[in-house]
Amino acid sequence: MKFTRIRLPKQTTNRLTNLKGKTGLNPNVLMRYGVLLSLKDKSDPIYEDQVCDGMELHRSVLLGDLDQIICALTMQRHTQSDQYPDAYTCFRAHLYRGVDILFAKVKQLADIADLLDDDQTLRV
């Protein structure tokens, strides 16, 4: 998966800004949660191109220490996919969808607990 920079759509950027306001988490961390959440979803994301007129991030900022593992997980997921666009497209599709999922699920930082794949019910 080769890319150094990524530009996001306006909506995704807005949602990330909104989420940052709610959770205090930086957009790059939010996007990591988003990608991973999307990868967890067994359905395929929408691989359509979108107008990317939002924020732009450097790969190292976006993925940080999780670069290798997120790439590996993306690759792992798309070997099982019927539609197999290139890895970057896959990643991007998962990123957009993940931010949407996150936006829907997270209203505050504590909601992150609900995202953790765990048998324990953390929240009452």
Partner: protein, 666 residues
């Protein structure tokens, strides 16, 4: 009073101590002390008088008395004493008393000491201050004149009976002193009762004052009771009001208002903690926490990566085996090893194992390790940490929600202010009322205590009043006493006087030679004696000879002694000096044996042998006073009674006599 013993030390011509015992029996009741003129007989009589009366012999003139004592104490001696032991009949029976009067010369001054002993121990019933009074109660001063007398000087007894002291003694002798004592006691009682009346009035006044005081206290108590009830009611009312206000206060969240500060503090604390937890979550999110949203996927990836690493190793071994097989085949071919052997060798070198998975990642072993390490760290380290922090956040949020909810309920201060102000006012009012109530309770207790104290005082006063009222009943009775006593006294006096007259007349007839001339004796109320001749004519006493006057006085004294029931010894100095033989015999035969205790101080000339023969059987003790002119000392010699009396006083003589006392019969 019966004289048992007399002891004199350093008195006049008696040098050192001399003891004379007068122990006697009813049959032998006479003691004789004989001696020449100047031997000390009168000194002995005087010693007895001084012993009993001290300065009262000199009209209580101490100076005159001490001057006399100075001469009475033997010249050159610093110490002198007189001691009389006598037996006194009392209600308790016979008691032995000793009167000891001693003197000590010191720098020209004489110090006198009077001591009374009872049964040879200091008499405790009377304080030394009243010793003399005690002696007077036994032997009044006037009685001495009647019983310790000089025979030559007794002839004016008829006259001296009227003098104050003797008159009193006579009254005592005839039993009037008892009535007088009773009168005196009643007088004292009445005086005391008058005083008691004053006391009674004072008690009544005090009682009245106390009752008034008690009434005042009762009033105060009632007022306090009312005040107590009033305050109690007010406190109940205000407590109810306060309760209602408190309910209102709680209903409007007033209790929260009170805990608002605490809630706020807790909220701040929780918010701080929440902030710290969020920072931790952010830090964990920067790390591997996002990976924890996956679990199956991570396992699959790990399995895939491990499988790919193993497949890679298999492929390397296969390549190596192929290279080796090629080299072996070349070498074996060159050596010309048979095909079958070559095939066998190549078969042995063949690696049959095949890769199990389709490679996806094609990453290096290092990368694989990094990814596997990250997965392990995420699952084993980061996840538990995050779960703890999220639990903490969750709890804090819940608590904060509760606090916020509570804080939301906190009413508006303005709304609470009225209730709070009312509650404060009520609390203040209640504390004031409770303090007042406590004060009222304390005052009530004090008042009750005061009333109780007054009740005690009243009870004591009531007892005193009861006592006084019983006394006043006695007083009523006592009021009648003086009249009754006066009548008794008159009656007794009359009867005793008649007895005295009768006994005197009886004695005159036994003693007088001229008894036929005297038909009657009249002793008037003032104890003046009249002798009545035939036809009731009055005999002038001055016309009687000195001897007859002495006999008359003796008859009266005898009568008095009879009336007095022998309560006192008779001591006669020079008993027979002026008398003729007839009158001497009369005395010896009639008068002397009739006296219960008689001590005669006589010269050897006074009693002749005939009289002595009459007297001898009645004599118990005989003492002879022997004066030594050379050293000016008198020795007292005890002489054997029967023989001594004969030797000293003459010959033995059978006597009869026993005059029965009329007073005893009465």
């Amino acid at each position: 009073m019966i004289l048992n013993r007399i002891s004199i030390t350093n008195i006049t011509s008696f040098k050192g101590e001399h003891v004379l015992s007068f122990e006697h029996t009813p049959q032998r009741s006479i003691s004789v002390i004989s001696g020449n003129n100047g031997a000390g007989k009168t000194s002995l009589l005087q010693a007895m008088k001084i012993n009993l009366y001290g300065q009262f012999l000199f009209n209580n003139n101490k100076k005159k008395y001490l001057e006399y004592v100075d001469g009475f104490i033997r010249s050159g001696e610093a110490f002198a004493s007189i001691e009389m032991e006598f037996r006194q009949r009392t209600l308790a029976g016979n008691e032995d008393f000793t009167v000891r009067r001693s003197w000590q010369r010191d720098n020209g001054k004489i110090k006198e000491t009077l001591l009374i002993l009872k049964d040879n121990e200091k008499y405790q019933d009377v304080t030394p201050k009243f010793y003399q009074e005690f002696i007077f109660s036994i032997v009044p001063l006037g009685m001495m004149e009647l019983f310790f007398f000089d025979g030559e000087k007794i002839n004016n007894l008829g006259e001296s009976l009227r003098s104050g002291e003797i008159s009193n003694a006579v009254k005592k002798l005839i039993g009037l002193s008892a009535v007088s004592g009773l009168e005196e006691a009643i007088g004292r009682y009445q005086h005391d009762s008058l005083k008691n009346k004053k006391d009674y009035q004072a008690i009544l006044k005090a009682q009245q004052a106390l009752k008034e005081e008690k009434a005042e206290y009762h009033k105060e108590g009632e007022l306090l009771h009312l005040r107590f009830a009033e305050l109690n009611e007010a406190i109940k009312r205000d407590r109810k009001k306060l309760g209602n206000s408190e309910v209102t206060f709680y209903e409007t969240g007033g209790n929260l208002a009170s805990s608002h500060g605490a809630l706020q503090a807790r909220k701040t604390q929780l918010e701080k903690q929440l902030e710290e937890d969020c920072v931790k979550i952010k830090e964990l999110s920067q790390s591997y926490l996002p990976l924890c949203v996956l679990s199956d996927e991570l396992e699959e990836l790990a399995d895939q990566l491990v499988s790919e690493r193993e497949d890679a190793a298999t492929r390397i071994v296969q390549e190596f085996a192929k290279e080796r097989a090629a080299l072996v085949e070349k070498a074996l071919s060159e050596e010309g090893v048979p095909e079958r052997v070559r095939q066998f060798a190549l078969k042995a070198l063949e690696v049959t194992e095949e890769p199990t998975s389709k490679p996806i990642h094609n990453i290096s072993a290092t990368q694989t390790d990094e990814i596997l390490s990250a997965i392990g760290k995420a699952q084993d380290v980061i996840r538990p940490q995050a779960l703890d922090v999220f639990a903490s956040i969750n709890n804090a949020q819940k608590e904060l929600a509760a606090i916020d909810s509570a804080i939301e309920k906190v009413p508006d201060e303005a709304a609470l202010a009225h209730t709070l102000s009312e509650m404060r006012k009520l609390n203040l009012k209640l504390s004031t009322q409770e303090a007042q109530l406590e004060e009222v309770v304390q005052r009530k207790r004090r008042v009750e205590g005061d009333i109780s104290a007054i009740d005690n005082k009243l009870l004591q006063l009531a007892k005193q009043l009861e006592k006084r009222s019983s006394e006043s009943k006695s007083e009523e009775l006592v009021k009648r006493f003086p009249r009754v006593l006066a009548r008794i006294k008159e009656d007794l006096f009359e009867r005793r006087l008649q007895s005295l007259q009768r006994l005197t007349l009886h004695n005159i007839r036994r003693l007088f030679r001229k008894d036929q001339l005297i038909h009657d004796v009249k002793i008037s109320n003032d104890f003046s004696v009249e002798l009545l001749g035939s036809a009731g004519s009055c005999i002038d006493l001055k016309r009687l000879s000195a001897g007859e006057q002495q006999m008359l006085a003796t008859a009266i004294q005898w009568a008095l002694a009879s009336v007095a029931s022998g309560n006192i010894p008779t001591i006669i100095d020079t008993p027979l000096a002026r008398l003729d033989s007839y009158h001497r015999r009369s005395l010896v035969q009639n008068y002397y044996p009739a006296i219960e205790q008689l001590i005669l101080l006589s010269t050897d000339e006074e009693i002749d042998s005939e009289l002595l023969a009459d007297l001898s059987p009645k004599v118990s003790k005989v003492y002879a006073l022997q004066h030594d002119k050379t050293n000016g000392c008198t020795e007292i010699v005890r002489v054997e009674t029967e023989k001594g009396a004969q030797r000293s006083l003459g010959t033995s003589y059978e006597i009869y006599t026993n005059q029965t006392s009329e007073a005893d019969n009465e």
